[in-house]
């Protein structure tokens, strides 16, 4: 299966079916060489690790086995902890996580997964976030230098997320994403440290377990070759196009889309209509949430009556706040905004075209790359 086929397959199905298709690869897993994963946590809420534990069919443990992954380091899950006796690292890597982590970094040849932003403050010291008696920034630097590639998971690690949201002390805290700060790649921590590494960004607040596992699976199985294929499979924010399509928004497949098309736009919460007037940012959100859904595919935000808050776009939360106020319309087609288009759509001939038209309106044309799906 080539990259193009991968994109089609991964976009259409969940992790389970994906791994099923690769049955032959997986049954030969013994021949897939062991892939080491080092997973580190900066300034974060552990929501992405929680989300990873929510992975379905396969669950995280099955995925590790089938993909022949060695989860070398993950501080929420592993038995070890950092232990210093009179200032020196004590014991062995079986009890001491700091020895384990240092050894793993020294050895190199791993995929580095980063969850959480990297503190640069105050004044470039990184001392606003420490662990193992050193700034997290220093650990990140060493771990990034020796990694084969970096997978940034969740909004904090990709674009800064809530840590980088606007406030009077944003600059003081100076939290960075791995290779971006909001939409700006020049302020990513890698640039700050002068490190060049292939990065895949899997945003979301939290990241969907499928987005994380399928991306890892594709890299491990060689379906995405790093770095050769990255230009083709990632958008300009380094997100996999297959999950965050440039030419597609959540609105296109929203379970409440039918209500939009007939102009049933709710103005109070807990109804069953379209949430546009209640602040839904679905038309601006490039994600496959509406198709993939969440937590065993039982539900997703708009289906549950909540306006989409666009938690996988680089500017989140500032770019979608206020969450419960109707978004300002982007460029208008034929003198109509998304609001009036919906009304015009009622019982008229444009109905069929409305979906397409609105998508064209709200998708910033500059964002578009050739879709692969």
């Amino acid at each position: 299966m080539d990259r193009r086929t991968f994109l089609k397959v991964a976009g259409a199905i969940g992790a389970s079916a994906f791994l099923g298709i690769y049955h032959s690869d997986i049954s030969n897993a013994i021949e897939i060489s062991k892939t080491k994963i080092v997973w580190i946590h900066g300034a974060e809420c552990t929501g992405c690790s929680e989300s990873l534990l929510n992975a379905e069919n396969p669950d995280i443990v099955q995925a590790i086995q089938k993909l022949n992954v060695d989860l070398v380091y993950h501080e929420t899950l592993l038995a070890q902890q950092g232990i210093f006796v009179d200032g020196r690292l004590a014991g062995t890597s079986e009890l001491n996580s700091e020895i384990l982590l240092n050894d793993a970094i020294e050895e190199g040849g791993y995929i580095l997964v980063v969850e959480g932003s990297i503190a640069n403050g105050p004044n470039g010291s990184g001392k606003y976030c420490m662990y193992g008696e050193r700034p997290f920034k220093d650990i990140f630097k060493k771990a990034a230098e020796n990694a084969d590639m970096i997978l940034a998971v969740g909004m904090c690690a990709t674009y800064g997320g809530v840590n980088a949201a606007d406030s009077a002390i944003t600059d003081l805290m100076d939290f960075r994403g791995v290779s971006f700060l909001k939409e700006d790649p020049s302020k990513g921590m890698l640039t700050e440290l002068g490190i060049s590494k292939p990065v895949i960004n899997v945003p979301g607040c939290p990241a969907h377990p499928d987005w994380m596992l399928l991306t890892l699976a594709a890299v491990i199985l060689g379906k995405i070759r790093v770095p050769d294929d990255l230009d083709a499979v990632l958008d300009k924010y380094d997100r996999p196009l297959v999950f965050f399509p440039a030419d597609h928004t959540l609105h296109d497949n929203c379970p409440r889309r039918g209500f939009y098309d007939v102009g049933k736009l709710d103005t109070d919460l807990s109804g069953d209509g379209c949430l546009w007037k209640l602040g839904c940012k679905g038309p601006y959100t490039h994600s496959d949430c509406a198709l993939r859904k969440w937590n065993g595919s039982v539900n997703m935000c708009t289906q549950a009556g909540s306006p989409c808050i666009s938690c996988c776009e680089p500017g989140f939360p500032d770019s979608s706040s206020p969450f419960y106020e109707e978004a300002e319309d982007k460029p208008v087609l034929f003198g109509m905004n998304a609001d009036s288009l919906a009304k015009v759509g009622v019982g008229t001939a444009i109905l069929a075209g409305a979906a397409h038209a609105v998508r064209r309106i709200v998708v910033d044309k500059d964002d578009e790359k050739e879709g692969e799906v």
Binding site: T76, V85, D86, Y128, A304
Partner: protein
Amino acid sequence: MTRVVVDPLTRIEGHFRLSAEVNEQGVISDIQSAGMLFRGFERILLNRDPRDAARITQRVCGVCPTSHAMASANALDDLFGIADQVPKDALVARNIIQSLNMMASHATHIYVLWLPDIVNPAYRDVLATIGDTGAALWKELLYRFAPISYRLNGVSIPPGNAYLNAIKEKKRLQEAIALIAGKMPHQMSSVVGGVTYRPTVADIGKLTSYYHHVMDFIDGSTLGVDHRTWLDNTFRASSPQRAVDFLIEHLQELVEKSLISNDFSHVAGWGDIDLLAAFGSELIGERYLGLPVSFKFDRSGGYSDPSKIGFLSYGVYYDVEHGDGYDPLEFGRSGFQKAAFITGSFEHKKFDHRNVTEQIGHSFYVGKHNLHPLEGVTDPVRNADEIDYNGNDESKYSWIKAPRYDGIPCEVGPLARMVAMEEPLTMGLINMFSKNGQSAANTFTRMMARAQEMLLLSDELLKWVSSDLDPNGKFCVPTDLSMAENSQGIGLWEAPRGALGHWVRTGRDSKVINYQMVVPTTWNASPRDDLGVPGPIEQALLGTKVSAVENLLGIDNANPTGILHTARSYDPCIACAVHTIDLTKKLGNASRTFNIV
């Protein structure tokens, strides 16, 4: 003297450091607990639409986001002046969402974060001293509780059976939340005025089915008996003594068989909690059951001076017996779990949130001391050279502030809630340890209280789902942003880890001018206060033996299980604890300071 530093303490949420001085007897004689991250969270809520808070504050913690959403929704209900109108069915839905998250969080803590500690090789060595029985038990512990990627002497140990099943159940519970709240972590449903989603009859059926799945796990793994039998004889026992008698008689039956057969399996009747209850406590295991050895968790993590500790619960879950609405100022007066302040000698006092102050003498902030959090003027240390995590009694060493209730450090969490509701099994254990001259709050009772809370919540959950939730009911009161003009709101709630309060105040444009969260781990993991009194985790570790089973096999500073069990027994969430910061000073005038309601 030896300095033993645990950094990072893993298998918790966030970055936590424990720096202990251990004396020649292997006893912890000094300890500092420190939050190692500054996150400036409340700052980003300033000047925002207050309704965003119910979404943004969840990002404080991905393990208990639901609690932040609820505390925030409560504060917003009050802010918008509609708390008395929130429809009963919205309150039921919120109760269901919260209890599911509480159960998921407790299951995660017990199985994924805490129990892996009892397969520490130190226990293999301890159990090796009692021959075949010890060997059989060690094998059983590994079979159930080994964590992922576990290695012993270079040999990979497969993840434990109970560990893996608990992850599945935690996932199922999160799926149940998503069913009526969109997704997890970071649910979307709790909003000012109610919830966004109207559950259908089919959803109620599915929720019931999730409940039965989870109870299958509890009956088949957590407990050795049917959960109804357990709850009838403990939670619904006629007295605390009877609850403890049931536990001990039940364990006696198991022990009599297993000490002969050396079979500690589920088939032999041993639930996960039975293993903890029998082998975790010296008093129960060795004294009452006559076991040759125990892990003595009841000997660690206690408090030596009852005058320097209290227990605090704000209460949680809406009272849905009386129709629509609730009183945010009287929250915790009725409802399933009550608000209370309990002294270190277990006297109940009425809770009054005006008694809460926060101190910053040992925290990396500059500003005034000993203020109610809502009057707090706090500013982080900005000079990197002044941030020295090796601080001590004389200096600043943590990003966590020191909250005090009436000047007293308080433990919050399941143990405090179980005491507040006078849960019979918990009170029975407390009486038993007190009579024996031990600290009644200890690492063992803390874990038993968490497990018991997970179990007893299941009954309430079923009631809310099958009896109280009416899919034809109302689920949200319409609101308009202008209703939040020049207003203030208080939201008290309980997170799995303990008492959680959100306070919000808005200005003339209805935008936030002050948002404050006082969070459970800030209480538990607080540093010393301005009088030098250590926080609860610090107190619990002072005097604790550093190595396994009261240093039974000698002192091993490189494997300080005493520190690990006790610190983890509080289920610390450091991302929550270091949430703080309000630069009210920067905003200027006094009118923007929150007035205590």
